[in-house]
C-alpha cells in the first residue's frame, strides 16, 4: 500500500504497487469476467462537469418560487390612478393592466425582473388588492408574504431569527444547503480521484490471457 505523491495526476501508487496490481489484473479471472482500465471518455467528463454546474443552477429557489406580495404593491398603488381609469374606460381590463405595467416601469421598480416573471391579469390583481392594502396598513414586510392562488399568505419559508424574535420569511437565492453541497461534491470528487489514481495509470491496459 505504498503511496507516491510526486505525480498525483498520473498515479498515487509506487511502481511496486502498480506492478502487483497489473499482474493480478491480468492473471485473475473473476468467474470468467475481465475488466479493462479505460479512462472516462473526455466528452463524458465534460457531461459530468455540466451536470454538477446544472445541479446548482437548476435548483436555486429563484426558479419555482411563488411571487411575493411586495412585487404587486406598486401595481395596486397604480390601480386607481387617472391614467389607469382612462385606459379602463377606453379599452377594458387588458388596456388597464397594460397601463399599470407601463406606469410601474416608468418608476424604475426594483422588482421589475420578478414582475416580468410573474405577470397577472386585472382580475387576479383585484383579488389580491384589498389583502395587500390591509397588510400595508399593518406595516408588515410584504416581501415576507406570497401569493398562493387568490390568497396572500405569510411565506412558508422560515429563515434566521430577527431582532424582534420572529423568523425571517424571505427565501434567499442561496442558503447553507448549497454551501454544504459544495463541500460534499468537492470531497466526493477528491475521494474518487484518489481511488482511481491508486490504480495503474489508464495508459496501461491489461492483456486478458485465456479468460
Amino acid at each position: 500500500m505504498a503511496w507516491k505523491f510526486d505525480n498525483p495526476l498520473f498515479s498515487l501508487s509506487d511502481e511496486e504497487q502498480n506492478d502487483k496490481a497489473r499482474k493480478l489484473w491480468e492473471a485473475e479471472g473473476l468467474g470468467g469476467i475481465t475488466e479493462d482500465n479505460n479512462r472516462l471518455p473526455r466528452p463524458v467528463v465534460w457531461l459530468l462537469g455540466l451536470t454538477i454546474i446544472s445541479a446548482f443552477l437548476m435548483t436555486f429557489p429563484l426558479w419555482g418560487q411563488r411571487p411575493q406580495a411586495a412585487i404587486y404593491a406598486e401595481y395596486v398603488a397604480a390601480m386607481d390612478s387617472p391614467r389607469v381609469q382612462a385606459a379602463q374606460a377606453a379599452g377594458g381590463d387588458q388596456a388597464a393592466m397594460a397601463e399599470i405595467v407601463r406606469i410601474v416601469r416608468e418608476g424604475q421598480s426594483k422588482y421589475e425582473a420578478l414582475q416580468v416573471r410573474h405577470p397577472l391579469s386585472m382580475n387576479e390583481l383585484r383579488l389580491v388588492k384589498d389583502q395587500i392594502i390591509e397588510l400595508q396598513n399593518s406595516r408588515v414586510d410584504l416581501e415576507e408574504y406570497t401569493i398562493v392562488g387568490y390568497k396572500v399568505l405569510l411565506a412558508n419559508f422560515e429563515g434566521n431569527w430577527k431582532a424582534d424574535g420572529t423568523r425571517e420569511r424571505k427565501q434567499p437565492w442561496w442558503d447553507k444547503g448549497y454551501t454544504i453541497d459544495i463541500f460534499y461534491v468537492t470531497y466526493f470528487c477528491l475521494a474518487v480521484m484518489i481511488a482511481v489514481k491508486r490504480l495503474p495509470n489508464y495508459r496501461w491496459q491489461p492483456v486478458h490471457h485465456g479468460h
Binding site: L30, A55, W63, Q65, E158, D175, A195, V196
Partner: protein
C-alpha cells in the same frame, strides 16, 4: 424446496436456492402485475368490481406495490446474488441450505404480509405500508440471512479481487438493512408529523436508491461482459459509479417533500444532490454501452442482452426525469400527479425489471443446464413487456401533465378526472400487456425446467441459443 429444508447440506444441489428464488420471483411478478392490471381496470372503469371492501382500490394498491417490490424485484435480486456472487468469486454459495430457508421464509412471510395489507392492516405510509411486526420479519427473517450468505460468500471467495458486481451486492444488502431499520422507526417509536413524513420518504427514496437501482445495475455489470465476452470497459468508471451511488443517492430524500415545511436549506441540499443522481447514471450507462463495443449484434439476437441493454438505455430517461422533476421549478407542477406514477414505473417496471429479467433468464438456464424452451416466447415476452410498459409510461406521463395543469389552474377535480380518463384506459391496456407477457414467461420457464434441451458441459446458454 421443502425436501431440502431439512436435508444435509451436501445433499442440496448447487444453485437450488437460486432456482427457487428465480421461479418464485416470476410467480410474484405474475401476481404483482396481475394485481396492477386489476387496479388499473378499477381506475379506467370505476364500476369494475364494486361492493366489496377487500377489492376496493384502497386495499389493493399497496398489495400490488409490495408484491412487485418484495416479491418480484427483491426475489429476482436474491436469485442473482445466489448465483452471481459465488460465480464471481470462483467459489460456491456459502450456505445453500440458508439460501433455501431464506427463500422459504421469504415466500411464506410475504404471503402473510400481503394478506395483512389486503385485509387493511397497514401502517398507512406509502412504500413502507407493512405493519411493524412484518417489518421485523423482513429485516431479520429475510434480509439478514440474505446478507449473511452474500457477505460470507464474498469473504470466502477464491479470488483476490472483488468484481464490481459484488461491491454493489454486498453493500446493497448492508444498506438495505439500515434503510429498513431506520426508515421504519416511526412505527416502533410512534413518530408523527413532519418526522414521520420525512422518514417515510427517506425510506421510499433509499429503497429505490440504495437497493433497487444499484443491484439492478450490478446485474448488468455481470450480464453484459459474461454474454458478449468483452471485458468490462472500465474498472475506473466502476469506482465512479459505485461511490457516486453511495454519496449522491443516499442524500436527496427531502426532495420528495419540496412543498413541506422542512428546513429550506435541507431542501436546497437535497435538490442539488437529486440532480447529481445523474453522475452514477452517466457512469453506469457509458461503462455498459462502451462494453458492448463490437458486439452490438447481441442486442438483436440475444434475448438476455436485449433485456439488459434496454434496461440500461432506460436509465437515461429515468435519471433525466428523476434528476430534474424534483427541482423547485418543476416539482410544483408535477408533484402529486400521475407523472410521478409514470416515473416510479419507469424505475421499477422499466429500468430495473428489464435488467432483472435478463438475470433470471440467464441464471435459470445456466443453473438448470437447460436451454430456453422457446426463444420465440422469450421474444414475445420482451416485446409485450416493452410495448406494454411504454404505453403505460406515456399515458401516465400525459395524465400527470393534465393533472398538473388542473392543479395549478384550479380546474374542478371532476373535470380533470374526465380529461384523464382515456389515459387511464391506455394505462390498463399497457399494464395488461405486461401481465400477459409475464404469464407467457412463467410458462416458458416452467417448460424450460421440464423440457428444455440439456446444455452440454462446458457450454453456456447463449452459445447454443440458435442450435437445434
Amino acid at each position: 424446496m421443502f425436501k431440502y429444508l431439512f436435508a444435509k447440506t451436501e445433499d442440496i444441489p448447487r444453485g437450488s436456492s437460486a432456482v427457487y428464488f428465480g421461479i418464485s420471483s416470476i410467480v410474484w411478478f405474475v401476481i404483482g402485475t396481475g394485481l396492477g392490471s386489476f387496479n388499473a381496470a378499477k381506475l379506467a372503469f370505476p364500476d369494475f368490481v364494486t361492493g366489496s371492501e377487500l377489492f376496493s382500490f384502497g386495499h389493493m394498491r399497496q398489495v400490488h406495490v409490495m408484491a412487485v417490490i418484495f416479491g418480484w424485484i427483491s426475489m429476482a435480486f436474491a436469485m442473482a446474488m445466489m448465483y452471481i456472487t459465488p460465480a464471481l468469486g470462483n467459489t460456491k454459495l456459502w450456505s445453500e441450505k440458508l439460501g433455501v430457508w431464506n427463500c422459504f421464509v421469504w415466500n411464506a412471510g410475504l404471503s402473510i404480509a400481503l394478506t395483512c395489507l389486503w385485509s387493511g392492516m397497514s401502517s398507512g405510509r406509502e412504500y413502507s405500508d407493512f405493519p411493524w411486526f412484518i417489518d421485523l420479519i423482513i429485516l431479520f427473517g429475510v434480509i439478514v440471512p440474505l446478507g449473511i450468505n452474500v457477505w460470507m460468500t464474498v469473504i470466502k471467495r477464491r479470488t483476490q479481487g472483488i468484481y464490481t458486481t459484488n461491491w454493489f451486492f454486498a453493500s446493497a444488502v448492508f444498506m438495505l438493512f439500515i434503510v429498513l431499520f431506520v426508515g421504519n422507526l416511526p412505527e416502533y417509536f410512534q413518530l408523527t408529523g413532519l418526522t414521520e413524513a420525512y422518514l417515510t420518504w427517506w425510506f421510499a427514496h433509499n429503497v429505490l436508491g440504495l437497493w433497487i437501482t444499484p443491484v439492478a445495475a450490478a446485474i448488468a455489470y455481470y450480464t453484459v461482459p459474461k454474454i458478449t465476452g468483452n471485458p468490462l470497459y472500465s474498472h475506473r468508471i466502476g469506482h465512479l459509479h459505485f461511490w457516486s451511488v453511495v454519496v449522491f443517492y443516499s442524500t436527496p430524500a427531502a426532495h420528495h417533500l419540496m412543498s413541506s415545511p422542512l428546513p429550506e436549506w435541507l431542501k436546497s441540499f437535497a435538490s442539488v444532490e437529486g440532480v447529481l443522481i445523474l453522475v452514477p447514471a452517466i457512469a453506469f450507462v457509458s461503462n455498459l454501452l462502451l462494453t458492448m463495443t463490437g458486439k452490438w449484434r447481441f442486442f438483436v439476437d440475444n434475448v438476455e442482452i436485449k433485456f439488459t441493454i434496454t434496461g440500461v438505455l432506460m436509465a437515461i430517461p429515468l435519471n433525466m426525469q428523476g434528476g430534474f422533476q424534483q427541482t423547485r421549478a418543476i416539482n410544483w407542477y408535477i408533484h402529486g400527479t400521475g407523472w410521478i406514477v409514470a416515473h416510479a414505473h419507469l424505475a421499477l417496471l422499466g429500468f430495473s425489471t428489464f435488467l432483472e429479467a435478463a438475470a433470471v433468464y440467464y441464471g435459470l438456464q445456466t443453473i438448470m443446464r437447460r436451454k430456453l424452451y422457446s426463444l420465440a416466447l422469450a421474444n414475445f415476452h420482451f416485446w409485450f413487456l416493452l410495448i406494454g410498459f411504454t404505453i403505460y409510461w406515456i399515458s401516465m406521463t400525459i395524465a400527470g401533465l393534465i393533472q398538473g395543469a388542473g392543479k395549478i389552474y384550479e380546474v374542478p377535480y371532476i373535470d380533470v378526472v374526465i380529461a384523464e380518463h382515456p389515459y387511464m384506459i391506455a394505462r390498463w391496456v399497457g399494464g395488461t400487456m405486461v401481465f400477459t407477457g409475464n404469464l407467457v414467461w412463467l410458462y416458458n420457464m416452467w417448460m424450460t425446467a421440464r423440457e428444455g434441451t440439456v446444455i452440454p458441459a462446458g457450454r453456456l446458454p447463449h452459445e447454443i441459443a440458435y442450435e437445434r
